[in-house]
């Protein structure tokens, strides 16, 4: 029993590392970012004091130490010897704030948003989707018209309206980003829940007097869990991009909260030519994180989404050839894969 459990204990993580190395690497990157966000005060070379980044007007707009030549490094070090502190690896902004520290604290904002939006929007879409599917009838009709209407309003407009309704700040952003995506995502959950609604176990539950709530929690949700996880993982990247876009337009975090998008719009855009690192460092941070989130989401989808399992999506001609060879004992000359036929037709 124990052995058996060990074998099936973490098939998902094992599969992720075995079959999807890129997704696994992305997961590690995201976890590192998570750790950096938590321990920002210890990692950042210039930690925040009293909730604000350290300002140093004498070393404003300093070039990244990383890209300095020897002479420049010498003078930078001379300056640091006076003021004390670590070299500015990614340069400084117009107020002399360390960009690397800013990015590390910005990661905190991004991670907080990512995690809470992911959880909240998934929760909203699961509640709306399963309720709509399980209750059916009038509830379904009305809820679905509401979802229809909501989805027709372009997302960015909706976000702008909600953000100007609530004002700037992280809690407001969490609400603004997760409610629309939760309502939008409820579609997928609803159709998945519709698929299992009439399954035998649900009918059995009805017969045994199970209430709708019981059915939802004990039968429907566990059975569509893979799809829920896929949807949650897939929403990660969008949160980061949307947050930075909103901060860029001035509708994002409150002033003073470090945010990658805000750094680009506030300073990076205006100093693009003089101090390109102010735009490219946070830009790279956003791009890397979105890339990792995308890859992780894709990996999770490939592993968990039942709609992709066993279908043509996971077709691997070499593997099938091996299987056929093992079963029949002969190596097949032709395998039903397009490359094989392609070449054989051309040669023949």
């Amino acid at each position: 029993m124990k052995k058996n459990r060990k074998k099936t204990g973490r098939p998902f993580l094992r599969d992720l590392f075995k079959k999807k190395p890129l997704a696994a690497a992305s997961l590690i990157f995201l976890l590192l970012l998570f750790a950096a966000a938590i321990f920002a005060d210890f990692i950042a070379p210039y930690p925040m004091t009293d909730g604000a980044m350290q300002v140093d007007v004498f070393s404003k707009l300093q070039k990244p130490y990383l890209f300095m030549n020897a002479a420049e490094r010498e003078s930078a070090r001379a300056l640091l010897a006076v003021s004390g502190g670590a070299p500015h690896w990614l340069g400084t902004d117009t107020l002399g704030r360390d960009v690397l520290s800013y990015l590390i604290y910005g990661a905190r904002t991004s991670i907080i948003l990512c995690v809470s939006c992911c959880v909240l929007s998934t929760l909203i879409s699961v509640v709306i989707g399963t309720l709509s599917a399980v209750l059916g009838g009038w509830v379904d009709l009305i809820v679905q018209r509401f979802v229809d209407g909501w989805q027709c309003i372009p997302a960015m407009l909706m976000l702008l309206v909600i953000m100007s309704m609530l004002g700037n700040g992280i809690p407001q952003l969490i609400f603004a980003l997760s409610v629309p995506s939760g309502i939008g995502g409820s579609r997928m959950i609803r159709s998945a829940a519709m698929g299992v609604k009439d399954a035998g176990y649900n009918k059995m539950s009805d017969l045994m007097g199970g209430t709708s709530g019981w059915k939802m929690l004990r039968h429907v949700v566990p059975n569509i869990l893979p799809i829920i996880i896929v949807a949650a993982a897939g929403s990660l990247a969008g949160v980061i991009l949307m947050e930075s876009s909103l901060s860029f337009l001035g509708y994002g975090v409150a002033i003073g909260t470090p945010s990658w998008g805000y750094l680009i719009s506030n300073q990076g855009k205006s100093y693009m030519y003089v101090a390109p690192w102010l735009a490219f460092a946070p830009g790279a941070a956003i791009a890397l994180t979105v890339f990792a989130a995308n890859m992780f989401g894709d990996g999770v989808r490939d592993l968990l989404d039942p709609r992709l399992k066993g279908g043509v999506g996971s077709y691997d001609s070499k593997k099938i050839a091996k299987k056929v060879a093992r079963l029949t004992g002969v190596l097949p000359e032709r395998v039903p894969g397009e490359r094989f036929i392609h070449t054989s037709v051309k040669e023949g």
Binding site: G149, P154, M156, V161, S164, S245, I264, M272, E338
Partner: protein, 317 residues
């Protein structure tokens, strides 16, 4: 088919109503009303303001529900009301600015399809080859880099290096084609990059799935050339999921243009919306959001009809 279209159009009515209620409710939930902003602005300009007369003139003295029905009554007669701040009707503003946003949106879609469909097909045809990897890597990169960063870079560096910048003065498409393209070409391509990344991957996956079907093998066996197999058999049968995704991205394309319009100074609905939001110009926001939503709905309807046209097996219910 005709019955289906009529049914879908009838179903649009409750959806439009929901959009109306939603936008109206959200407008009234915004902190600070149009009245406050107008009073502030007029007092700042040194004018004497009688708050109550202004309230009556703006129609804000009635209860919100009454205001809603007055507005919705106007909408049904095709009258979106007048802007509270500009001496213009909302219909006039939209008629002036919607074509600009639509042009940007459609250009963006055009580039997206032009880049993603042939490249996606090529990637699928040469799976795991050099072009496949190159384009896939680029697709993922374009998806990850935020649009506003690309746009800012494109605005700054060409201007500094070669003295080139996109036009910032709007000219109508039919009045001055060159000036118009000078304004729209660059932002539309930038907007299309991220979309292309997503679509290319989608097209590739769909085509790969189709390539493994029996009828494609039969086509090879019949002795069809590669071009014929790819275009007539693979591509046509992979279109359904692709059309779905393109339809889904339409809402994003039109809504996401706020940033591009902002950066490239394009006088579209997005720009108008940001100004109107700052001023709490209720009627303008309601009108713009409503019109955008109706356009998205109609495009979704067209996409659904395209399904049937592309694949007669699809059951329309």
């Amino acid at each position: 088919m005709g019955k289906y279209i009529v049914k879908r159009i009838l179903l649009l009515i409750p959806t439009v109503l929901v959009v109306c209620v939603l936008t109206f409710a959200m407008m009234r939930m915004l902190p600070g009303s149009a009245l406050d902003f107008m009073v502030k602005r007029l007092t700042a300009a040194g004018q004497n303001v009688d708050v109550e007369t202004l309230r009556v003139r703006l129609g804000l003295d009635k209860p919100a529900v009454t205001q809603f029905f007055i507005w919705i009554g106007g909408v049904m007669r095709g009258d979106l009301g007048n802007s509270l701040f500009q001496y213009e009707s909302v219909g006039g503003i939209i008629a002036r600015e919607l074509p600009v946003t639509l042009e940007l949106g459609f250009l963006e879609l055009f580039w997206t399809i032009l880049f993603s469909v042939p490249l996606g097909l090529w990637c699928a045809a040469r799976q795991d080859g050099i072009p496949d990897y190159t384009f896939r890597v680029f697709a993922i990169i374009f998806m990850a880099i935020p649009t506003f960063l690309v746009a800012s870079v494109v605005l700054v560096y060409p201007a500094a290096w070669w003295g080139y910048a996109p036009n910032i003065k709007y000219a109508g498409l039919f009045q001055d084609f060159r000036a118009n393209m000078g304004m729209f070409l660059v932002p539309s391509i930038i907007g299309a990059l991220a979309q292309t990344g997503m679509q290319l991957r989608m097209v590739r996956t769909c085509c790969l799935e189709t390539m493994r079907t029996d009828f494609v093998r039969t086509a090879w066996a019949k002795g069809c050339g590669e071009g014929r197999v790819l275009v007539r058999h693979v591509f046509r049968n992979s279109m359904i999921p692709v059309v779905t995704v393109i339809g889904g991205s339409v809402a994003g394309v039109f809504g996401g243009n706020v940033i591009l319009e902002n950066l490239f100074n394009i006088p579209g609905v997005g720009q108008q919306l940001i100004t109107a939001l700052d001023q709490r110009d209720y009627t303008v926001i309601q009108g713009c959001v409503l019109v955008m939503a109706v356009i998205v709905m109609l495009i979704n309807l067209i996409v659904d009809i395209c399904y049937k046209w592309l694949d007669p097996r699809v059951e329309l219910d």
